[in-house]
Amino acid sequence: MHRCSFGPRLTAVFTALAFSMSLLGPLIARADSKLKIITATTDLASLAQEVGGDKIEVESIARGYQDPHFVDAKPSFLLKLKRADLLIVVGLDLEIGWLPPLITQSTNPKIQVGAPGYLDASRFAKILEIPTGQVTRAEGDVHPLGNPHYWLDPENGLRIAKGIADKLSEMRSSDAAYFAQRYADFEHRLKQADERWLAEMKPYAGRKIVTYHRSWPNFAEHFHLNVVGYVEPRPGIPPSPQHTVELIHLMKRENVKVIVVEPYFDLKTPNAVARETGAQVLVLPPSVGGEKEITDYFKLFDYDISKLKQAFDAAH
């Protein structure tokens, strides 16, 4: 009899304990755990790291040397997305081929489109090449909402960082001052760096270049380069012989000496064009992590600008 009554009591105690633990658990976790952020690309991860500091844990789905249009929706990403507090995407349909099923299958209500944990960085950025009038795929894989490679302008980097800082403060108001301070520091450093970059690029203002894909309009605008042609006949369409011949003529006529190629494109056509025109093929990463030494947003511009300078100088 005595033993019998012990069982239910013990059970009740355990249940109460488990219940209170389950209630307390999230609270304890909330107080000192880091915000878990997943970004679509490495550039957004770097910007988030700048403003989030040690209050966040951030990881990117795409690698810096990978074509962000074509990423496999691997199930291993689902586990990361499931645990995320915040998902930051490039938007403008860049990830349309792989991110929507990942979001749907993540079973994480926090990061569903439109939920507080879903942040579209393009909201904050200045977007170029928004098509006007009729949009058809005769123009290739056009992005009806504008060119999604907008992070390659430090001014946009700053705007995105501000957007992320505001979002982080909203999600973790107790650390708002920390994020604001991190942002202010980032703004200061980025402005200084941008002054340096602009000064370095100033002698080359107006230089004509050809790029493989339309990844560089924001970069070219900020640093006053003139993109006069593309190796792709249309965005997303592989090079064709006829277009390549036209490109060679164009480059000779305009005296273009640099062909910028993203690290995920084949070099065969660019090399052939370079041989014909005496131009130099420059593999230029458009994203953080595109080369081993490009570990953050600052180093991305450091690297790209030094490579461009070398190429322009060599052209003389």
């Binding site: 990978q66 074509f70 496999d72 349309i96 200045k126 006007t132 909402l145 002054e195």
Partner: protein, 467 residues
């Protein structure tokens, strides 16, 4: 700002047009000198021209305003914000941006942010506010031609095999929906139409509607996304034909805790129990069930392994005349394995995929002597595809499968496949198919030698690529 620039450049253009013509006209009038009447005519003509130009400008101004209003919810592109300290020298390319008044900038930023939320309701495809809430609509045309000899299951020489209309949208903060309506040669069929609840507690993912069952790999893939033109023999022989296990029901999935580095997911599905010539629901309570367990592991950045086991059960179809059809079941077991290799730096040029699926079928039926019997049939396929470059893919497939209702009959076949992609949105494919197909009696075979070709075209929104 942009409007101002546009309008002023328009006026400039118009003006230069007018002035550009003037010398020519004055030269012309120089021939008939001291002729006052043409001079007056010229003045009135000019006045007329200026008036029409003014009208045109007003019209364009209105159009611009309308355009601007329609665009206002998109991230504004004309708010040219500069880093306060960036040095833009006068005369440099793009220096006009430096003159953007800071007030305009300040008023634009909040507007951009406030309206950002509405812009995110759909997955792309929409270009103006009016269309923002429309679902993403796509259409995929699948044209197939066949030549050669097949005495067992001949297909037409030319056919628009399928026209699939897809509509996909986010329904509300808790759900999204996908519908694929396929127009075939014989009629219209809702290939899939389901709602997915994405915000359920406890990490559950619920799908409700008509869908392709999570039975193995090839059963879940739409025709146009297959790496071949036809479906493997085993699909036709054991898993219900082209549409496979595709039924109305509910699906519940959950991630399963797994050893480090592994992703595991379990799926349980309940269906009405009607799938082509595979399952048939004779009574309302004769439901079909499907279970699937998936294990996935990244072997390296570019290589991964995808494994699965599946089970499906329902009442055997085609027994309506039997005395108690609800006691006849078909149990299907399957195992699938996929190995993928795709180097990230050259993902669009080179990749390789090997897949094999094994199927076991245990079908209760009536024997020729009207006695209860269970046929145990086995079937499998193995396929490989290799992307040679951005536009070409080669592949092959080996097929072997018994017949569900007569396990003594076994078909064997192989195929070679060559695919060409003009762009992401169209695809041209050729397939040579050899089949050693069993007929009537065990040991009797009919050889089929066929050449198939296919044109696929995609209209509308990007569909996400299946993985």
């Amino acid at each position: 700002m942009k409007r101002l620039v546009l309008v002023s450049s328009l006026i400039l253009c118009a003006a230069s047009g007018v002035f550009g013509q003037q010398p020519a006209e004055s030269r012309a009038s120089g021939i008939h000198q001291a002729d006052d009447v043409p001079g007056e005519q010229r003045m009135t003509a000019l006045e007329e021209r200026v008036r029409t130009l003014a009208e045109e400008v007003a019209l364009l101004r209105g159009e611009l305003k309308a355009l601007r209003d329609a665009k206002s919810s998109e991230p504004s592109s004309d708010g040219r914000v500069l880093l306060a300290s960036s040095h833009v020298e006068p005369g440099m390319v793009g220096s006009s941006s430096a003159s953007a008044p800071p007030e305009a900038l300040a008023s634009q930023l909040p507007q951009t942010q406030a309206s950002g939320g509405t812009q995110l309701q759909t997955y792309g495809g929409a270009t103006s506010n009016a269309k923002l809430l429309n679902p993403d609509i796509s259409l995929i045309g699948d044209f197939i031609g066949t030549a050669g000899r097949n005495a067992v299951s001949p297909s037409p020489s030319l056919q628009l095999h399928e026209t699939e209309v897809g509509m996909q949208a986010i329904i509300d903060p808790y759900a999204r929906a996908d519908a694929f309506i396929s127009f075939g040669e014989t009629g219209v069929n809702v290939e899939e139409g389901y709602v997915t609840f994405t915000s359920l507690p406890a990490g559950l993912l619920l799908k409700v509607g008509k869908m392709r069952a999570a039975f193995g790999k090839v059963n879940t893939i739409h025709n146009h996304a297959l790496p071949y033109i036809d479906r493997p023999l085993v699909t036709n022989n054991l898993v219900g034909g082209e549409d496979g296990i595709n039924d109305a029901g509910m699906s519940l999935s959950h991630f399963i805790p797994a050893p480090k580095g592994w992703f595991m997911e379990g799926t349980a599905q309940v269906y009405r129990g009607d799938s082509d010539d595979l399952f048939n629901s004779y009574r309302r309570q004769d439901l079909g069930v499907v279970g699937h367990l998936r294990g996935y592991r990244d072997l390296s950045e570019s290589t991964n392994l995808d494994l699965g086991i599946s089970y499906a059960r329902g009442n055997s179809a085609g027994l309506a005349a039997a005395p108690n059809p609800s006691t006849f079941f078909t149990n299907l077991y399957a195992a699938d394995a996929t190995l993928r290799w795709k180097p990230l730096r050259r993902a669009i040029y080179k990749n390789f995929l090997f897949r094999t699926e094994l199927f076991w079928s245990a079908r209760d039926q009536l024997s020729a002597l009207n006695a209860f019997q269970t046929q145990h049939a086995f079937g499998m396929y193995s396929s490989a595809e290799y992307r040679l470059n951005r536009r070409w893919t080669v592949g092959g497939r080996f097929d072997r499968s018994g017949h569900a209702a007569n396990a003594n009959l076994t078909d064997t076949g192989f195929s070679g496949i060559l695919t060409y992609w003009p762009s992401e949105f169209s695809q041209i494919r050729g397939q040579y198919r050899f089949g050693r197909l069993a007929v009537a009696n065990p040991g009797d075979f009919s050889n089929a030698n066929e050449f198939l070709f296919q044109f696929l075209f995609v209209m509308g929104a990007h569909g996400a690529h299946p993985f």
